[in-house]
Amino acid sequence: MGLFIAQLITGLANAGALFMVASGLSLIFGVTRIVNFAHGSFYMLGAYIGYTLMQVLPGAVGFWGAILLAGIAVGVIGMLVEILVLRPVYRAPELFQLVATFGVILVVADLTLMIWGPEDLLGPRAPGLRGVIRIMGEPVPKYDIALLVITPIVALLLWYLIARTRVGVLVRAATQDREMVGALGVNQAWLFTGVFALGCGLAGLGGALQLPKGGADLLMDFNILTAVFVVVVIGGMGSLPGAYLAAVIISVVNVFGVTYLPQSTLVLIFVVMVLVLMIRPYGLFGRPEVAGEHGQVGEPEKPIRPAGTQVRLLVAAGIATLAALPLYGSSFSQVLATDILIFCLFAASLHFLMGLSGLVSFGHAAYFGGGAYVAALIVTHSNSPMELAFVLAPIGAGLGALIIGWVCLRLTGVYFAMLTLAFAQLLWSLVFQWGEVTGGDDGLVNIWPADWLNDTTVFFYLALILCIGGILAMRHVAHSPFGYALRAGRDSDRRAEATGINVKRVQWLGFGFAGMMAGLAGGLFVFSKGSVFPNEMEIARSFDALIVVFLGGVKTLAGGVVGAATFKGLEEVITRFEYWRLILGLLIIFVVIVMPEGIVGTARKWAERAGWLRGEETRKRKAREEAA
C-alpha cells in the first residue's frame, strides 16, 4: 500500500511540468490554431534561463523567483516570435504556420548551444527541499511534494484567468469562433500575441520547474515534444482541464508501466493515446472540429490544370539533362542526385495526400521507413533476391497504410494528423524494440542491390526512372477521375457525398496510394544506403517531408517536388557550416514570411503579376475580348 501511494505521488509530481507545457500548447492551439512544434524549444529555454538565474539570485526567494522570471522571460521571447514570425503568416494556408515554428526550433537549438555550450547542466536543488520525507515508510522527495502543491495552484490560476476574467472570456470566445470575435471589434492580433506569450511562458515555467529533478540539456526540446502532443491530444486540443487530466493519466500510467512492464517505456503512452482516440475521437474534453471552420483561410484555390506543351517540353529537357548526368557528373554527383530523387518521391507522396485529399499526416515516415524495412527484413530473413524484396516494399507499405488509414480516417483535421503520428510512433517503437527481428536501433545492414544494379550509375538510372515515373504517375492520378473525387472530398465533403462519391473510401484509397509511393521511395532508399535504421521512421523524418511540402506549396501540383529538391539541395550546402541549423532555420522563416503560399505558389503569383505567366485575370480578360 505504501509503495502504491508513493508511486502515485511520483506520477502526480511528474505530471507537473508536463501539464504546464501541454496546457500552453493547448491554449495556443485553441485560440490561434497554430500547431506549435517549437513548444519544446520554449520549454528548453525556460530550463536554461532558469538555471542561469538561479546561479545569480540567492536563497529560496531567488530560487522561486528564478522560476517565475524564467517563465516571464520565455513568455516575452514567445511574444517576439509571434510578432516577428507568425503574425505575417496568419493568412497563409491551414497549418502553414507550423513550418515557421519548425524554423524557430532550429534557430533556438543553435542559439542555445552558442550561449550555454554543449555540456548538460545539472539543475540546482530547491533550497530547503533536499532529501525525502517518509510516507508509510516509503521515501518521497520533498520537491515532489512541492510539485504536487504547485501544479494544482497553477492550474487553478489558469482556470480563474480563463473562466472568470474578461481576457478569459475573449480567449474562450476566440477558441469557439475567432472570426466572430474579430467581427465584434476585438483586436485579434493582440489577443493572439497575448495567448501565444502566455502559452510559451507556461512552457518556460515548466522547464524551470523541472530543474531540481533533472537539468537543462540540448535534447530537451525534442524529447518532451511527443509526450506533450500526446497529452494535448488525449485531453482534447484547446481544453485546459483535459490537459491536466491527461498529464496525470500519462504520468501515472508511466510510473506503473515502469514497475510492472519495464520493457514498455517506449510504447505505453502511444497505446494509451490510440485507445483514448478510438473511444473518444476528439480527446477527453475536446469537441469535434466543425468542417470549414478554419479550412479556407487566404485566397480560394485555383483549379489545377495539366501542363501545357511548352512546360512539357521544358520538363522533358530537364529530365534529359538529368539523365545525362553520368556523362558530365562525377560518381558522387550521381549518389547525391539519387538521394535527392528519393526524397523528392517521398515528399511528393505526402504532397499527393495533403494537396489532393486535404489529409495532413504527421506520420508519413512510417510508410517510407516501412517500405525500407519490408525490403530489408525480406532480404535479411528469407534470403530472397533483391528484386523480389524491392517489389514487395511499396506493396507492404501500401498495405500498412491501408490498415492504418482505415483506423485514422475515423477522425478529421488535426486529430487525424495526431493519430497518424501515434501510429507512426507505435510502428517505430515496434521496430526499435523488437531487436531479434529488426535489429533494434542497430538496424539491418548489408542490404545491397543485386549485382546487375550495384553500380552507382545503374542504380542512379533505376532511381531516376522510378522516382520521375512515380512523380509523373501521381500527377497523372491527380487529373484522373480518382483525383477529381479526392479533391471534391477535400473541398466539400457533403457535396461530394451528394454527387455519389464515397468520400471516406476515396480518401482511404488515396491514403494507401500515398503510402505505397512512400514505400517505393523507402525501398530505393534502403538499397542505395545498404542499411536501414529506425531513424527512417522517426518523427523527424515525417517532419522533414511535411516541411518541404509546405515550403514548396501545398496548393500547387509541383510543390512537393520543388520543395524537396530545394530543401535537400540547400541542406547539402548549408550543413558544411558550423552553425548550419541557425542558417537553415532563418532561411525557412524567411521563405515562410516572403512566400506564404510556398515557393511554387508565390513564384507563380509573382510571375503573373510581372506578366510572365498568364494568370486567371488575363485569361478571363482575353476570353471576354474574344467573345466581344
Binding site: 511528474n14 548551444l113 512546360v311 535527392i340 542497430d442 545492414v445
Partner: protein, 403 residues
C-alpha cells in the same frame, strides 16, 4: 508551371557546388582521411574528440608527417543520421580523395558506414562506436574498431561484480541496442564467473526520457544486493539524484558502465555518486607513461582538460598513422592488410588490432568513484588491458560469420 526546370536548376546548382574542383591526390600532397561525426547532435562528446585528433595531427605533421607527407583530416557533420553519413562517406572517398574513413560515436551510424565500407571496399576505422556487432555479427573485411567494445567493458565490470560476492543483481539500462548488449554481456560473463547470481529486476527506461523516480521505486521493490547501471548523460544525472534522495544506493554497490568518464561524471558536480565501481578515464591522476604524457600535452595545447573522447581521438590518429606507415602506400588493400595485426604504441600503451576480428585491444580504466574538491573522480583505479576481456578465438569465429 516550369516546375521541372526549376527543380533541375536547383539540383544542378547543388551538384555544381558539391563538385567544386578539389585537387586530386597528388603523390606529394597531404594524405587525406575522412572523419565523419555527430558534431552538432553530440557536441559535448564530439568536440573533445576532435581536439584530440587535431593535437595528434599537429604532433605528427611537426615530426615530418606520414611517409614524408602531411596527414590531413576532413571533418564532416552527419547530423547523427546513418543515411547522411553513408552519403558523406561516398563523397569523401570518391570526390575528396580520402584514403580511408574514420569516426562516429553512435553505433547505428558506425554500422551504416561499416556496411558501405564492406560493399564498396573502403577502409573504415570505427573510433568510438561500441556495438559488439560492428566487429562480430556484422563484421566485414574493411572495418576495424579502436575503442574497447560494450562486451569488453561489461566483462571488466562483471569480473569486479563476481569478486564482490553479491548474488542478487538489478540492472538498469537505456531501452536500445547498446543498453541491451551491455546487459546481455554483463549477465553472460557474470553468470559464467559466479553461477549463483540471480537477476531480480531489469529496468529499461527510454533513452534520455527516464522517469527516474519510478525506476528507483521499481528497483527498490526488488531488493537487490547490487545494481548494474548502463544509463548515461541526463538519464544518469536523474537516476543518481532520485536514487540518492530515496536511499536506493545505501548499502548497495553499483557497477556503472562508462559512468566514470568525465563526459558523464563531471556534469554531476558535487552530487556525483560515491563508491560506484565504474569504467572511465581518470586523467587527473595520470602522470607517468604515455597516457600521462598525452594529458600533459593536451592541457598545454588547450585551455581545457581531456575527456575520454579526447584520448580516443588522439589514438585514432596514432592508429591511422601507424597503419599507413606499415602499408607504405595509400592503396586501400595495402592499408587494410596493414591494419590486420597492427601494433600501435598508443597513448594507452601498446595495443594490437587483432587479425581475427579487427578489434583493437585498447583497454579501459576501472575504479571506484569518490568526491574530491566537490567533483566526482575515480580512485583505486587500474588500467585493464582490453585483450584480456575478449572471448576465446573459437567463440569469436562463431560470433563473426564473415570470417
Amino acid at each position: 508551371m516550369k516546375r521541372k526546370t526549376f527543380l533541375k536548376t536547383l539540383m544542378g546548382a547543388a551538384v555544381a557546388v558539391t563538385m567544386a574542383p578539389f585537387a586530386a591526390t597528388a603523390q606529394d600532397g597531404p594524405i587525406i582521411v575522412g572523419e565523419i561525426n555527430h558534431y552538432k547532435r553530440m557536441a559535448a562528446f564530439a568536440g573533445p574528440y576532435k581536439m584530440g585528433i587535431e593535437l595528434a595531427l599537429e604532433e605528427i605533421n611537426a615530426a615530418g608527417g606520414v611517409m614524408g607527407r602531411p596527414l590531413e583530416f576532413i571533418f564532416r557533420d552527419d547530423q547523427g543520421e546513418p543515411g547522411e553519413a553513408v552519403k558523406i562517406a561516398e563523397e569523401l572517398m570518391t570526390r575528396d580523395g580520402a584514403v580511408m574513413i574514420t569516426g562516429t560515436i553512435l553505433s547505428n551510424v558506425g554500422l551504416a558506414i561499416s556496411s558501405l565500407a564492406g560493399e564498396k571496399g573502403y577502409v573504415y576505422l570505427a573510433s568510438e562506436p561500441l556495438a559488439d556487432s560492428l566487429v562480430w555479427a556484422s563484421g566485414n573485411d574493411y572495418t576495424f574498431r579502436l575503442r574497447s567494445s560494450t562486451y569488453m567493458q561489461a566483462a571488466m565490470l562483471a569480473e569486479e561484480a563476481a569478486a564482490s560476492g553479491a548474488t542478487k543483481f538489478a540492472t538498469i539500462a537505456p531501452n536500445y541496442a547498446y543498453g541491451k548488449d551491455a546487459v546481455a554481456a554483463f549477465k553472460e560473463v557474470l553468470t559464467e564467473l559466479n553461477p549463483d547470481v540471480e537477476f531480480v529486476a531489469e529496468q529499461w527506461p527510454a533513452l534520455f526520457k527516464i522517469d527516474a523516480g519510478a525506476e528507483v521505486q521499481a528497483i527498490e521493490r526488488a531488493k537487490p544486493d547490487a545494481i548494474y547501471n548502463v544509463t548515461f548523460g541526463t538519464d544518469l544525472a536523474k537516476l543518481v539524484r532520485e536514487g540518492g534522495d530515496r536511499g536506493l544506493f545505501d548499502g548497495r554497490t553499483v557497477y556503472g558502465l562508462l559512468s566514470g568518464e568525465p563526459e558523464y561524471l563531471d556534469p554531476l558536480g558535487d552530487e556525483a555518486p560515491e563508491g560506484w565501481v565504474v569504467t572511465g578515464f581518470p586523467w587527473y591522476d595520470l602522470e607517468d607513461g604515455p597516457d600521462g604524457a598525452f594529458v600533459k600535452a593536451y592541457q598545454e595545447r588547450y585551455d581545457d582538460y581531456p575527456r575520454l573522447g579526447s584520448i580516443v581521438g588522439y589514438m585514432t590518429v596514432q592508429s591511422i598513422a601507424a597503419a599507413l606507415e606499415r602499408a607504405g602506400s595509400t592503396e586501400t588493400d595495402a592499408i587494410r592488410e596493414a591494419f590486420k595485426g597492427l601494433e600501435v604504441a598508443s597513448a594507452m600503451g601498446d595495443i594490437t588490432f587483432r587479425a581475427i576480428d579487427h578489434q583493437a585491444t585498447m583497454g579501459a580504466y576501472v575504479g571506484t568513484t569518490a568526491l574530491r574538491d566537490g567533483k566526482g573522480v575515480m580512485v583505486d583505479w587500474e588500467y585493464k588491458y582490453g585483450g584480456d576481456y575478449l572471448p576465446s578465438d573459437e567463440k569469436v569465429m562463431e560470433l563473426r560469420p564473415g570470417n
